[in-house]
């Protein structure tokens, strides 16, 4: 399955960057949760090992096989998502987990990979200068079904990331102005309907709080204010590892998950923030550069969608901690605590490795 030549083309640099990001994550998770029950840092480390193992299993299959069978994977995903609604285990208000004897998984996370594969298959068939309406509509429908299920769970953060995957594919395929306008109108209509009939109260609250955080200093606005205090009080050099008063004194909520970047800002200061931004930038740059290394159209789409998925999640999360984006529950990829999320993002990187090592035909 894997030839010796292909092994020579494994992008070790990407793997190293992934591991660096994850280790930064584990160190900060420890700092922000060591006084809580549950040993989160150790759990995250185990998940990192599992994820690395999963990457090596994934790259032993040619990605084209996965692309070919993506529609079956898609159906399996829908069944799993549907079953979470019925049997799901309620965690922090969202029905998104399936409990297995040894661990819990979040099908909504794995769905991201499957959507990338499915969309790459659909879009690799369009070779014109821009996509046609009918193709656009089928791909929108394919994303809408899991989007609605996950949004009902309710996990708007994950559901939003599906939209980013779709947007990435559509952007790459090229879109003519007529369709773009159609999309915008649809977005406005859905936005209006969603705001009035679909969003839960707490979600509407979050958007309002995003716009006016000081109006609600003890409610949802509390998160944003506390997060900004944490980051701002870090200064140039930070308060030192394990010494952040905001995070250690628990004024900062969800410090080891959604607000982990605030802990970095507080404990390592502007220097720490800049370093993490640089490392992450190198990581994303390497992924974007890989787009040109793919052998075929499907490969280009896959790498690009992974790049859009990771960079959108990263940027949204960071913007959220400084109050420039509503709190949507999107974690920082590779750094935030969360097994399913780490595994999914690793698999996404695994797809890139997979494509890059098979970039030469007829060898």
């Amino acid at each position: 399955m894997v030839t010796r030549t292909q092994l020579n083309y494994i992008d070790w640099g990407l793997i190293v960057l992934l591991i660096i990001n994850s280790l930064i994550g584990i160190a900060v998770i420890y700092s922000s949760s060591h006084h809580l029950m549950g040993n989160y840092a150790f759990k995250q480390f185990m998940w990192l090992l599992v994820s690395l193992g999963a990457i090596f299993i994934l790259i032993s299959f040619d990605y084209n096989i996965l692309v070919t069978y993506s529609s079956y994977l898609y159906i399996v995903c829908l069944i799993l998502l549907g079953s979470t609604l019925i049997f799901g285990n309620l965690i922090s208000g969202a029905k998104s987990w399936i409990k297995l004897p040894f661990f819990q998984i979040q099908p909504s996370e794995i769905t991201k990979i499957v959507l990338i594969l499915l969309l790459s298959r659909t879009f690799s068939e369009f070779k014109g200068r821009s996509i046609k309406i009918i193709h656009g509509l089928t791909s929108v429908a394919a994303v809408c079904v899991p989007f609605l299920i996950v949004a009902i769970q309710p996990d708007l953060g994950t559901a939003t990331s599906y939209i980013f995957i779709l947007a990435g594919a559509v952007l790459l395929a090229g879109i003519n102005k007529k369709i773009l306008i159609l999309f915008l109108i649809a977005a406005i209509v859905f936005g209006f309907l969603g705001w009035n009939f679909f969003l839960k109260d707490y979600q509407r609250m979050r958007v309002k709080t995003f716009l006016f955080p000081e109006k609600d200093p003890l409610g949802v606005g509390y998160h944003i204010i506390q997060s900004k205090i944490a980051i701002g009080s870090g200064g140039l050099l930070g308060k030192g590892y394990l010494k952040g008063t905001q995070s250690q004194l628990r004024f900062l909520p969800a410090r080891h998950t959604d607000f982990i970047f605030s802990v970095i800002g507080e404990e390592f200061g502007f220097i720490g923030v800049a370093l993490v931004l640089i490392v992450y930038f190198l990581f994303l740059a390497r992924i974007f550069r890989s787009v040109g290394k793919a052998r075929d159209r499907a490969g280009v789409y896959i790498i690009f969608m992974v790049a859009v998925l990771l960079s959108s999640q990263f940027l949204i999360n960071v913007l959220m901690t400084i109050g420039l984006f509503p709190i949507t529950g999107i974690p920082l990829p590779f750094i935030s605590y969360g097994g399913s999320s780490l595994l999914t993002n690793s698999l996404a990187v695994g797809l890139i490795l997979n494509i890059k090592m098979r970039r030469f035909v007829n060898l």
């Binding site: 009080s233 859009v308 035909v361």
Partner: protein, 593 residues
């Protein structure tokens, strides 16, 4: 697949690079934004974070006690325990709820609802899940302390009413601040979970009783453990409140009404001190002085007998014949009649084409002003009503305090209705019919009063209109300045003569007579259904019981007590309400009031 030739992918790769340029721009912007927050605004955020290192803990203040005028304690505080959940310390909120539910013998859903109600609070804020814990529950929580770090056990003073149901309508009760009350300006210092007075004195004087919670400020270490305490402000206990009530009289009144529905008010006519105020049926406020609503509460709220309503200030009734002294005063003062005016009562009279009857179908014969009160002759007052017209009657009714709140220091008092053509036009858009004036002149029709208003009116007669009485419950709430009612004192003496005869010369209120006490009184029996319906029923030999009234004061010269008694569906005032008043008069005499 492997032998496919490379296709030209450069257009889409170029698009990908464009998108990456966008991402690069955002990264550069982020560096600038973090520079602004962490370097330029650093000082501001540093100060804010220092403030955060101090943790505030509020220490509940003892609520002030409430006593009667002799120092008998009516409301106090006892030690009690409450338990809260700190969500942040939960490993799995779902599991925690189940465990805690098991230990505290609650339903998991109850805890979840409770947490849901306060979900906007930050995660480290304790949410109270049960108060009023039994010693067994406290022991249970203590023994599970290590396994359940999310539970926080705290002691707090709990409100207690040692006399049970006695004076429950006056005292009111405390309950948890609701989310809607939280938004009111007057509760802006309160926190979620605080207990506030919901009715009665507890509500009216909440600010005075509540005191001020103490604030313990401590510096906490990285594990949230307290390192140093700076007790900034000790709790200020609430002020004591002494009521004008006399516990003995209050108790006697409750005893007299036991098993009935109705109200009794005992007042000092000289200054408006309320010595007793009872409303029956009553309730034991101790049963729901906590943050949760057990079934007893719902039963009380939903009961058809409205035990939570204070009938004395919120019940609206027709005054019936107890209104007749006011009619006579009005007629004499407005010179509609003179002291010598008599009317002949044949048992019925035709006015405006309708037959109106006296309660005594045989007729009273010739009736003078004193006998009109003594015998409570309806015909006499029909004639007064016809001569005075409704405008005059309502003008005088208002002078005695009807149709407006008495101003007692209890919340949500009702004002009652003094009808006139304007009122009728406003509410029903119909003109006033002269026949209605005839009904009002014997205290029926749309005229509605509260028992407390009748007590105030009785006091006005007792003090000969020397001053307008505002009833009050708080010992130091007396305001000495008040205008007199501009009716000649001689006229009062004439009406009082009639009331004295009613009790002491074989009048309708003879059952209230106490040997050696100069009691003046008047009874009333008010039809709860319309006159026409009652007459139809009477023809079929069905008699519906009427509300039974007594108003009176003693002694005749320099009165010291005024009493009003209402027994709903008690039958004739002379046979039900008057004997109750007699017992209370006797009791007051015994206490040497």
């Amino acid at each position: 697949m492997t032998n496919k030739i490379y296709e030209d992918l450069s257009p889409i790769i170029r698009r990908s690079h464009k998108i990456f340029i966008l991402v690069q721009i955002v990264f550069v912007l982020l560096i600038f934004i973090f520079w602004k927050i962490q370097i330029i605004d650093h000082k501001k955020y540093w100060e804010l974070s220092e403030a955060n290192r101090l943790r505030e803990i509020s220490i509940p203040a003892q609520r002030g006690i409430i006593t009667d005028r002799r120092g008998e304690i009516l409301a106090k505080n006892i030690a009690s325990f409450k338990v809260s959940i700190i969500r942040e310390n939960c490993e799995d909120l779902e599991k925690s709820c189940f465990r805690i539910a098991e230990i505290l013998n609650l339903k998991p859903d109850v805890i979840k609802q409770r947490i849901d109600k306060f979900k906007t609070l930050p995660e480290f804020h304790p949410i109270i899940i049960k108060d009023n814990l039994t010693p067994a529950e406290v022991a249970m929580i203590e023994s599970h302390k290590l396994e359940l770090p999310e539970l926080l056990l705290q002691s707090e003073p709990k409100r207690n009413y040692p006399q049970g149901a006695c004076a429950s309508h006056i005292l009111g009760y405390v309950q948890e601040l609701s989310l809607s009350e939280m938004k009111l300006e007057k509760y802006r210092d309160k926190k979620l979970g605080d207990l506030i007075g919901k009715t009665g004195i507890e509500k009216k004087y909440d600010a005075r009783l509540a005191g001020r919670d103490g604030l313990l400020i401590e510096i906490v270490d990285s594990l949230g453990r307290s390192k140093e305490q700076i007790q900034d402000r000790p709790p200020q206990p609430g002020g004591k409140i002494e009521l004008t009530l006399d516990f003995n009289i209050q108790n006697k009144c409750e005893e007299m009404l036991d098993g009935k529905e109705g109200a009794i008010v005992v007042m000092d006519p000289r200054n408006g001190e309320v010595l007793a105020m009872t409303s029956y049926p009553d309730y034991d406020p101790n049963k729901f002085v906590n943050r949760f609503t057990p079934n007893e509460w719902l039963e009380l709220v939903n009961s058809t007998e409205y035990p939570l309503e204070n009938r004395a200030t919120r019940g609206l009734y027709s005054p019936g014949s107890t209104f007749k002294p006011a009619m006579l005063l009005a007629a004499l003062d407005s010179k509609t009649i003179t002291k010598r005016t008599t009317f002949f009562c044949s048992g019925s009279v035709k006015i405006y084409g309708n037959d109106f009857y006296c309660w005594n179908r045989g007729g009273h014969g010739s009736v003078n002003i004193y006998e009109s009160i003594q015998k409570s002759c309806n015909i006499y007052f029909y004639q007064l009503g016809k001569m005075m017209k409704i405008e005059k009657i309502s003008e005088y009714a208002r002078k005695f305090g009807f149709g407006q709140r008495t101003g007692i220091d209890l919340p949500e008092e009702k004002a009652g209705i003094v009808p006139d053509p304007d009122w009728k036009k406003r509410t029903t858009n119909n003109p006033w019919y002269p026949g209605e004036t005839i009904s009002v002149s014997i205290g029926q029709g749309p005229l509605l009063v509260t028992p407390l208003q009748l007590a105030v009116y009785t006091s006005h007669i007792a003090n000969r209109g020397m001053k307008k009485v505002r009833p009050y419950l708080l010992m130091d709430a007396f305001d000495s300045e008040s205008a007199a009612i501009d009716i000649n004192a001689d006229i009062f003496e004439d009406v009082i003569e009639g009331m004295w005869r009613s009790v002491n010369r074989g009048g309708t209120a003879w059952a209230a007579r106490v040997e050696g006490m100069e009691i003046c009184g008047k009874t009333g029996s008010t039809q709860v259904i319309s006159r026409e319906t009652a007459e139809k029923l009477a023809k079929k030999n069905i008699v519906l019981k009427t509300h039974s009234w007594f108003i009176g004061f003693a002694p005749r010269k320099a009165p010291r007590i005024a009493i009003i008694v209402l027994v709903e569906f008690g039958g004739m005032g002379g046979s039900t309400a008057a004997p109750i008043a007699r017992e209370i008069f006797k009791f007051c005499e015994h206490l040497q009031w």
